[in-house]
């Protein structure tokens, strides 16, 4: 398994990141190094081991269904680059998700 320049461009697009040609080349090689290391880990026999979905040996951490005060609208909007008195304001969204 190896990462191509195309993969890097695709992932960058998904993450909405822009890179120069040089950076893309560098990232391709770095990602490949990481994958090589993973290949090394793959040599360990894991057939009899349950896959781990969480690093902590914990389960069922719940809260009761109780309403707790949050923060004010003013506070919520304080760090937004653009907002009205009540809404976050973002550039027009074209198309749908």
């Amino acid at each position: 398994m190896s990462v191509t320049l195309k993969d890097v461009e695709y992932i960058a697009e998904l993450a909405r990141l822009e890179f120069s040609d040089e950076e893309k080349k560098m990232l391709t090689s770095e990602l490949n190094q990481i994958l090589e290391y993973m290949e090394q880990l793959n040599q360990v026999k894991t057939d009899t081991i349950e896959p781990l979905s969480h690093v902590l040996d914990l389960s069922n951490v719940f809260r009761e269904d109780l309403v707790q005060p949050g923060i004010s609208t003013e506070e919520a909007l304080k760090n937004a680059p653009s907002a009205t008195e009540e809404f976050f304001r973002v550039p027009k969204v074209l198309g749908e998700k």
């Binding site: 069922n60 719940f62 009761e64 707790q68 923060i71 304001r89 973002v90 969204v93 749908e96 998700k97």
Partner: protein, 485 residues
Amino acid sequence: MWWSEKYEPVIGLEVHAQLLTRSKAFCGCSTKFGDSPNSNVCPICLGMPGVLPVLNKQVVNFTIRMGLATHCTIAPISIFARKNYFYPDLPKGYQISQYEEPICQNGWVEIELKNGVRKKIGITRIHMEEDAGKSIHEIDIDTYVDANRCGVPLIEIVSEPDMRSPEEAYHYLVTIRQLVTYLGICDGNMEEGSLRCDANVSVRLKGEKKLGTKVEVKNMNSFRFVERALQYEIERQVEALERGDEITQETMLWDANRGICVPMRSKEEAHDYRYFPDPDLVPVVVSEAWIEEVRRELPELPLEKRDRYIREYKIPQYDADVLTSEYEIANYFERVIKHLTHRTEEAYKLVSNWTMGDVLRVVNETHVSMENFPVEPQRLAEMVDLLVDGTISSKIAKEVFEEMLTSKETPRCIIERKGLMQINDPGVIGKVLDEILTRHAQQVEAYRSGKTQVFGFFVGETMKAMKGKANPKIVNELLKHKLQS
């Protein structure tokens, strides 16, 4: 349909139901609908760095309820995953959902079609997830975002591609709505978005085993739109195939104003969500004991309720079907029954008739909810009691009912105020009858010579003379007696 001899549509539905919890799925913010924008928010649902979501236990309870009601297997261990995509109403840049290990799998529901035929529709999975916020595009050139809905709990119910017509899809959706409202886990309101539906549609030649290329249809926010949008999309695909075109896998949006499906403008890679287990949330472990606890608390489901109505109230199956078709109707019917003094089969049937007839007629005409129906169950019960004990006739009952729609008076008050009490005294009725028979001697002759159909004429005249207040049974008996003597 002209194409239905040649082609077969294959439909699967994905239904999102907003859960009726008080607080959000992973934080304590209120889930209340209609509060001022961005007022039910906190660092967790706004996706601030460094916060830790904690799962609302009720979300799990509600999801297990739906899982049990749809005969699903409840997974002993299930986990949450992050579904990654960028959209302004998703502050974190990912939606917390379930991917590889959903809590419910492999269930089914039974739907009943118009012709009474029943069909099982498979449920692939039901999983827990959170809602996104709301984008408002109409105010000016910018988009406005309200994060109140961010983090409100949802369940997504994914069906097998088991439906073969828009009608089946419609009945499936009605059944799902019926279940979630009976279970008390969702208010089922499609217009307000508490229940949302997307469809996967493909068509294939009849007899073909392989599935055609599927198209996703979104934005069908009412029951009727679901049927119409599917109809449209199926015909579009059939026409394309007839022309020899290939169907492209894409997502369409139903445009209710134009009555057509339009392709959604989006980039191809938008569907690469790069799911991975959410490291912030620990696995949910559901024990047998927990499942049993939820099972014990399951309310009576539509079919059980229907069977009980037939058994307990001796009403016909048709009545029981109509009354249990929606939780709110069944609830109203049962509350009327509870307030009855005369606990007889006659009274039960009358309550059924009035609920199915005049009550539902007014509900449909005025779009009032059953909960806010102007004639409260207690007053309808009193009216039925008065009918059963002969205080009023069914004709007068209609008048009393109409009056109750606009006034808060009890049926007894209305009857007294308007002098509508039924006249049961044979002496009083007999006197009126005598006058009428004297006045219409010719018709009496006709009756006695065999023209018995004039009987109805006499009844009508008597009722007219007594302003509809005479007990019709007594009028009939007395009249028969007098004409024969």
